[in-house]
Structures are given as C-alpha cells and as structure tokens.
C-alpha cells in the first residue's frame, strides 16, 4: 500500500545535499547576462530614448528597445490554449514597450558579458517620458474622463454577473436579517525563494532551448512560439527543479525574451535573472479586491441569500485578469449551497503592479468577504458562529447551485466538528467571556472555505504519463505534471507503485520536464495535478500491469487472469500466490529474448472531465493587545477534507505552509502602493513583511478523509486550499475578542490602530 504511507520525498536527498539543480545552476562560463531597462514612472509614454552610449560600452553585446521587438501582443497567463476565441486570455503584452502601464514596465534590454557591465550600461541609457496621472484606485480608473490604460481596450478588462440557486430578490424577501458591509483585501506577493529566471541558447539554427523556472513548461513553449511568431515545435522548454512558484510561475514572463535574445545573438546562451526587487515589482501579485456584500439570514441562522459585488484590480496588464475573480466566485458557491447566490464582478486595468495567479486564485479574497459577513450576521443574530456554519454547510449530495451538479464528496460538517473539539471551542468561549475588556483581550474565530480541483469545465484538463519497465524490473515514470515543491513527483511514485503492486522504492521518477520528450500536461496550478495526473498514472499503470501479466502468461503458460504482480514477483493467485517468475527475469526476457517480447511501456494521455469540490476550515484562538495593536495567535488549526490523503507527511507540509502564508496575508503582508504615483514602497523582503521563523506560531492541522469517486486514488485538491480560511478566521477572532469588525486585510498594527481608535478602544 504505497498510497497513504509516510513515504520520504523522492527528491529530498537531492535537495538536502545541494545536488538538486535549479535553473541558475545550469549557468556556464560565457553565458551572456541580460537586464531590463524599466520605467521609473507608473503611467505615461516614452518620448525619447538614447541607448548609443550603452551600446558602445566595452563588454556590451547588444541593446534592444521597443522598436526592435516583434509587433505581436501575447497573453502571458498560463492557461491552456482556448479553441474558443471568446474565452481566450487577453493578449496585451509586447516584449518591450514605450507605453508605460506600471512602475517598472519594460522599455529596453541590455545584454552584456556580466551583470556589472549590464548595470553600468543601463545607467548610460537616457529616457524621457510624457507622464500621465497614475490610475491606482477604482474611483480614478472608472472616472468618465479617465485615460485608457491600454489604447485598444476599456479600463474594464472583464465583467460578468449571475444569480444561481433561485431568484435573488425573492430570497432576500425571506430574510429576517439583512447584513450589508464592505470588505477589502490588499495586494500581496508570492515571495517564492527563487526569483524568476530563464536561460536560453540555440542547438542549431532553428531550435531554441529555454531552461526556465516555470510551473507550465508546455504552455511556455506555446507562448514563446506565439510571441516570436515561430512554429511552436522549434521551441524546447526544460524545467529543472524550481524554487517555489505559488502561481507566480504560472505565467510566461521571461521565456519569450530570452528566446528572442538568443535568436538575435546567433544562439549564444543568454541568462535573464530578476533581482528580488524586480521580481516583487514586475512579475505578478494577488489581485486586490473591493467587496460589497449583502447577506440575508433567517433568525435561526439559516442563510437564504447573498449578493457579492466585487471590483478586482489586475494592474498594468491583464495576465490572468478576470479569470481570478470569476474562479473565486464560482468556487465559493459550493460552501453554503442551499442559499440563493448573486455575483457581479469587474476586473480593472490599473497603474499598479500586475495581478496574476496566486495560491487559491481569487478564493482567499472572496472567502474573506463572505466569511467575515457570516460572522457579522451571527453576532447580530446572537447565534454561535460554528453552529451557524454547520447549519448551512455543504453536505454530500447537495446540488452545487452554480454548476447544478451534485457534490460528490463532502466532509465539511465533520471538519467543523473536529475543529470545534480540537480547539475546545465551547469551553474557551465560556472562559473568554471574562476577557473582553482591559489591555489584553481573548477571542475565538472560525471560517470555512470551499474550493475546486482543477479547472474543468472552464479549461481542458489534460495529463500525460509514460511508464517503462526497466531492464532490472524497476520502473521509470515520466509525467508532464511539474514538481514545484508540492510533492507531485512523490505522489506520482506512490500512485504508480500502488496500482502496479510493486514497492515504491522500485519506482524512479523523471523529475525534469522537457517539452521535446515529456508527455503533454499543462502544468502545476489549480491544485489539479494529483487529481488529473493521478487519473493518467492509474490508466498507464493499469495498462502496463496488464502487459506484464500477459507476457508472464506467455512465458509461464498460466492464464493471465490467474496472475498478479506482488512486490517483485508475478504470482499465481489461484495457487496461494506462489511466485511463477520474478519481475526482474521477466524484464530481462522482454528486452533480450531474440524471438518474443519487446520493451514493455504504457504511454497515456488522459482528459479528466470532472472537478472535485474540497472543503475545510480554520479555528483560531487569539490574544489582542489593544495598546500595541498586536495580535498573538495562541492556537490555530486547519481541518481539511481533501479526500484520501496520498502522503501524510507531504500533506502536513502543504497545510502548514499554506497556513503560514495565510497568517502573513492576515496580519502583515501588503504591497504598499502610493496612490498618487503608483510607486511601490516595499518591493524587498525587509519591508514586505513575509512571515519569518519568529512570526509563525505552532501550527496544527487534521484531516477528514472522504473518498472522492471521480479521482482514481480518492484524492482532492490540497496544494492551495490551506491558505484560504486563516485570514477570515483570525479576523473573526479579533471581532470576538474586541467587538471591532476589521473589514480589511492585512490586519496590521496600523489598520488595527485606526479601527480601535474609531471604536473608542484607544484614545484619539
């Protein structure tokens, strides 16, 4: 039984010894270094650009400007190609531009012998701008006289509206209480430890090789081809180990540029590695969102209607754009599915850093608004927040009002009951009644979430797996699914071992993706991989196992139906599982018998046409220091229904890491943008408050294991979900402790100071 075991990560030894190779570790002497010339303004037009002095500097190989790049706009979002042009991503990005849309926009690029010379050359470039007012807030962007940020598009890059689960106005009529409130979530950043980096060279005169830190090698291949206007088959993308992505590398950011540069420089190797400051300013971020929520409740805490109106800001370029707020909205319909739900969302261009995919893709923002509103309503009604959620929570068999499909597996109520017991909710709630005044106040909070697994039916869900029986009886597995730290390779090894019936130690994984040889898969995002690649691995392993048993039948004369693969032998199940031939001998025969056999392989491409809902909740116990405006987490639990847990150690890691990121978003993380100029104040790891070791408390978690019928191994999404519910749970705990509803993220000391002051907890 390999699935469910505490198997060590297949890449752990490579990583603890420093042997694991990441993109920059492929650097070789002679590699040219490229550096962008970035705009020093957030909105405007380049009116003069002088690069001659830079070109003449010794050690500079070339300087390219917006006049030198292909006049092709591409969509950078790492989505599958859309056969329906109406659903294609917005193609709005040139390799370089003179139309500045955010601070740090890319105007020119220097290629030099080394980084120091590239920096010197950049200092010699002279730029003149015509500057426009920076449009940084919905009010400014939607003003009737606001300039169009993209000349050929409205500033509203996407908009949609729907009602589901009934008629909204009729449902609100049934409510005893209508709660209306505004909520806001700030822009935050992924801060993966490895910055974006890519290296390109040419193998011959036609083929471009790109080594890149990407979550989506096959999509990157396509987008490079599109951006350069060359056949996609001439591009080869290699993805080695990558130092985290969290969605920021589900976007094609550097690959087209390095491919362009090597193609212009006779195939010389060129590296483009962003500094931390560039990475934080000029890659992608979580979209900031403004919400208006209207919630209709019955007196007993039954939720009857909810209308959410949201404005999402995608920054200077669309990237994933409106998909984020659309996906977050639709996935939130699963949480309390027996109510009527309305949703209206708009996504705006803005002269701020670009929004893209980030862990849980819109759900953290929307869940903050919904789960804050639920607690506000519970307080007004005098209902226990846990009881209220149990009353409304999704159950197996409920109909998802958005998709109209039944919820195939759901352990949300059990998650809530487990969390309530683990944190000793009832006992502490009683105890904390005496700690609601004075300097230090105590409170409890809860919040739930719902999420999907993969992107179907919005996008195709295609996954590939190839399994080979090696000469020694071990197997090699190759998938298009990308290991980005989440443990995909190890999960695949466990799944293949289970279905074949062999020890997991006899499974070798090809970790690197290489688009010239790797089975096609769209990559790591939407917590899809263990689900969709699981279905492909199951199919490939089942097929290979049948080939092994058929060949064993040929060799031994026993009917294949009486044989099975157990451990390292083929056994006769009709004769007490006695071994009839070892897998090693069978493998040798398949390769080297002169008359029969052949390499035994299975090569499968599988499209998953389902989407499994996953659920969970956070329980948190906080102390709020009123004078210091400081929140201390005494205890925190995440409880997840992610179906069958493939590997408890890796699952624990996903939950703890997501919770820490959620705690950061709740209490400290925010990209600080000057509203007048669009300048960013804190694009570094010192001023952007990513949680350090001393900021994260002891973290606890548990699982409610359901069995998801649409997954070959019963599993559902787990990579992204843990980040979703900690911020609203912490917010609700602060509300419980202080009586102050903080309606924005992050709940930093500055924000709490304002809130406590306006509620009279602190003297003005």
């Amino acid at each position: 039984m390999a699935v469910g075991d505490r198997v060590d990560r297949v890449d752990a030894i490579a990583k603890v010894t420093g042997k694991a190779r990441y993109t920059d570790d492929f650097f070789r002497p002679g590699t040219l270094v490229a550096k962008y010339l970035r705009s020093s303004i957030a909105h405007g037009r380049v009116t003069g650009l002088s690069v001659e002095k830079a070109r003449e500097l010794e050690g500079v190989e070339a300087v390219f400007t917006y006049e030198d790049v292909p006049p092709i706009k591409v969509a950078t979002a790492g989505h599958p190609y859309s056969l329906d042009p109406a659903h294609a991503d917005v193609a709005d990005k040139l390799l370089l531009t003179d139309r500045i849309k955010h601070l740090g926009d890319e105007i020119a690029i220097v290629v030099a012998e080394n980084e120091l010379i590239a920096d010197e050359a950049l200092a010699l470039v002279e730029v003149e701008y015509e500057e426009y007012p920076a449009l940084t807030t919905p009010e400014k962007i939607l003003a009737p006289d606001a300039r169009k940020i993209h000349e050929d598009s409205s500033n509203v890059v996407g908009e949609h509206q729907y009602e589901c689960g009934g008629k909204l106005d009729e449902a609100f009529e049934l409510a005893d209480l209508i709660h209306e409130e505004q909520y806001y979530t700030a822009m935050v950043q992924h801060v993966h430890l490895e910055n974006h980096t890519a290296l390109a060279y040419m193998d011959d005169l036609d083929h471009i090789v790109v080594i890149s830190s990407t979550q989506i090698p096959h999509i990157a291949r396509r987008v490079v081809g599109q951006a350069l206007g060359i056949p996609w088959g001439r591009v080869r993308v290699i993805k080695p180990y990558i130092g985290g992505g969290f969605g920021n590398k589900q976007d094609v950011i550097l690959e087209p540029m390095v491919a362009f540069l090597t193609s212009k420089l006779d195939g010389q190797p060129v590296r483009l590695t962003l500094s931390r400051e560039e990475c934080m300013l000029c890659t992608r971020n979580r979209h900031p969102m403004d919400f208006e929520v209207k919630l209709g409740m019955k007196e007993d805490g039954t939720a009857v209607a909810r209308m959410v109106d949201v404005i999402s800001m995608t920054g200077g370029y669309a990237s994933h754009g409106h998909s984020i707020v659309a996906a977050g909205g639709s996935k939130s319909c699963l949480l309390y599915p027996r109510m009527t739900i309305g949703y209206h969302a708009r996504t705006l261009y803005a002269n701020i850093p670009v929004g893209g995919a980030m862990r849980a893709y819109g759900s953290p923002q929307i869940t903050f608004a919904i789960e804050s509103a639920m607690d506000d309503a519970a307080r007004k009604l005098g209902v226990d927040p846990v009881e209220m959620r149990i009353k409304n929570a999704a159950r197996q068999g409920d109909i998802n009002p958005f998709s109209k499909l039944p919820i195939s597996s759901c352990g949300l109520v059990e998650c809530l009951e487990k969390g309530r017991s683990l944190i000793r909710w009832d006992e502490k709630r009683e105890d904390y009644r005496n700690h609601k005044s004075g300097k230090i106040r105590y409170g409890l909070g809860v919040a739930c979430f719902s999420y999907g697994t993969g992107t179907y039916p919005v996008c195709v869900e295609i996954a590939g797996a190839r399994i080979i029986l090696n000469q020694d009886g071990s197997i090699h597995v190759q998938t298009g699914a990308t290991e980005i730290g989440q443990g995909s390779d190890t999960a695949v090894a466990q799944m293949a071992a289970k279905t074949l019936g062999i020890p997991v130690e006899n499974v070798h994984i090809v970790s690197t993706q290489d688009t010239d040889v790797t089975p096609f898969d769209t990559g790591a995002y939407a917590s899809r991989q263990a689900y969709v690649v699981g279905n492909a691995v199951y199919k490939a392993a089942t097929e290979l196992k049948q080939k092994i048993l058929d060949y064993a039948a040929l060799l031994t004369g026993f009917p294949a139906a009486s044989l099975d693969l157990k451990g390292e032998s083929i056994v006769n199940i009709t004769d007490n599982n006695t071994s009839v031939i070892s897998l090693n001998d069978l493998a040798l025969s398949s390769y080297y018998d002169k008359e029969k056999g052949g390499q035994l392989t299975a090569d499968v491409s599988h499209k998953t046409t389902t989407n499994a809902p996953s659920f969970g909740c956070t329980f948190v116990d906080v102390a709020v220091d009123i004078p210091l405006c400081k929140v201390t987490i005494n205890e925190i639990y995440n409880i997840h229904d992610s179906g069958v847990i493939i590997n408890p150690v890796m699952a624990k890691g996903q939950v703890e890491g997501g919770m820490a990121m959620g705690i950061g978003a709740a209490l400290s993380e925010q990209v600080l943008i000057d509203q007048e100029t669009g300048r960013v104040h804190n694009n570094n790891m010192l001023d952007y408050k990513v949680p350090t070791f001393t900021d994260v408390p002891d973290i606890h978690h548990d699982f409610v294991e359901t069995v998801e019928p649409t997954a070959s191994y019963g599993n559902k999404s787990l990579g992204e979900p843990p980040i979703i519910s900690p911020p609203p749970a912490i917010r609700n705990a602060i509300l419980d402790a202080t009586g102050v509803a903080v309606n924005e993220l992050p709940m930093s000391p500055q924000v709490l100071f304002k809130a406590f002051k306006s509620h009279g907890l602190l003297k003005p």
Partner: protein, 156 residues
C-alpha cells in the same frame, strides 16, 4: 581589480584569483562550482546563501570573497560524507522539512550551526526560531523545520 586568495572549502584547500567586488556566494557558485548555496535576494534578507565561515553562519551573498582569505568555509555539499547524510540532513528528509528545496541548503547550514552551538545545552522551540530567524522559507511554515531540528539534536 583581482586578488589571489586562499581558503579551504569543506576541508579542501583552494587558491583562487577573484574580482575584489565578488561576493563569496558568486565565487562558490561560479568559480568553485558549488551551486548548493542559492541566491534568493542578494542583500542578506533571506538566508538561502548561508554558509559557515570558520564555523560562523554568514550570508555569503553579502560576504566579500576577499574576506574569506585564509578562512575555512563549510557549505551544504560538505555535510554528506561517504554516502551518509548528516543528522541534520537526515532529519530534514524524515520530517518533511523540504519542499521546493531552494532555502534548504541555507537552512541545513543554519541548523548545523545551531546543533553545534546547542550541543550540550537545553533549548526551547523559541530558541530554534530565534537562531534560524535569518532564513526565510515560504513553503513549510517552519513547523517541520522545528521538528527536524529537534530530531537532529537527539542524534549524533
């Protein structure tokens, strides 16, 4: 301007001609060829480049290569000997303290320094937190790293 410097890396003596502007990290990665230590920020914020210089934990991205002249450098590559992981490395594997792995070489050196410093002392979880505070991990939430350090302290 270049300068010839001599140091030992994981016990082996090296004589190198380095640009005086180079960081120890650049020299280790690009001249010595040891790419275990990583650059996550280049300015001493994240700790991915941590190595030991005369057994003291430093951010090699802001430690000039010329300062290392005459000193003894330890990197993650030297911690696994004769095919055997160090107790710190072994604990990181077993406790699941590794995800993307980019911060791991730096963390392994920080934990190695911690282990050597606290070998015969009592310590708390907060001591582990404080002594690793210069290293940022975005994947694990640090919980499994604490567990790995605790386990490594119980082993030789």
């Amino acid at each position: 301007m270049n300068k010839i410097i001599t140091f030992t890396v994981n016990g082996k003596k090296r004589e190198l001609n380095v640009d005086v502007r180079s960081s120890l990290l650049d020299v280790l990665r690009e001249i010595v060829g040891m790419t275990g230590a990583k650059e996550g920020c280049g300015v001493g914020e994240c700790g991915a480049c941590s190595v030991l210089v005369d057994d003291l934990l430093v951010d090699s991205c802001i430690y000039m290569a010329v300062w290392a002249d005459g000193k003894s450098i330890r990197t993650v590559e030297g911690e696994c000997r004769d095919g055997k992981l160090s107790s710190v490395q072994k604990s990181y594997v077993e406790k699941g303290a590794v995800q993307c792995g980019f911060c791991t070489p730096g963390f392994v050196m920080a934990s190695t320094a911690f282990k050597e410093r606290f070998k015969d002392k009592t310590f708390t979880r907060d001591d582990i937190r404080r002594e690793h505070a210069g290293n940022i991990c975005r994947c694990t939430g640090y919980e499994s790293i604490i567990e790995a350090v605790e386990q490594s302290m119980e082993e030789d």
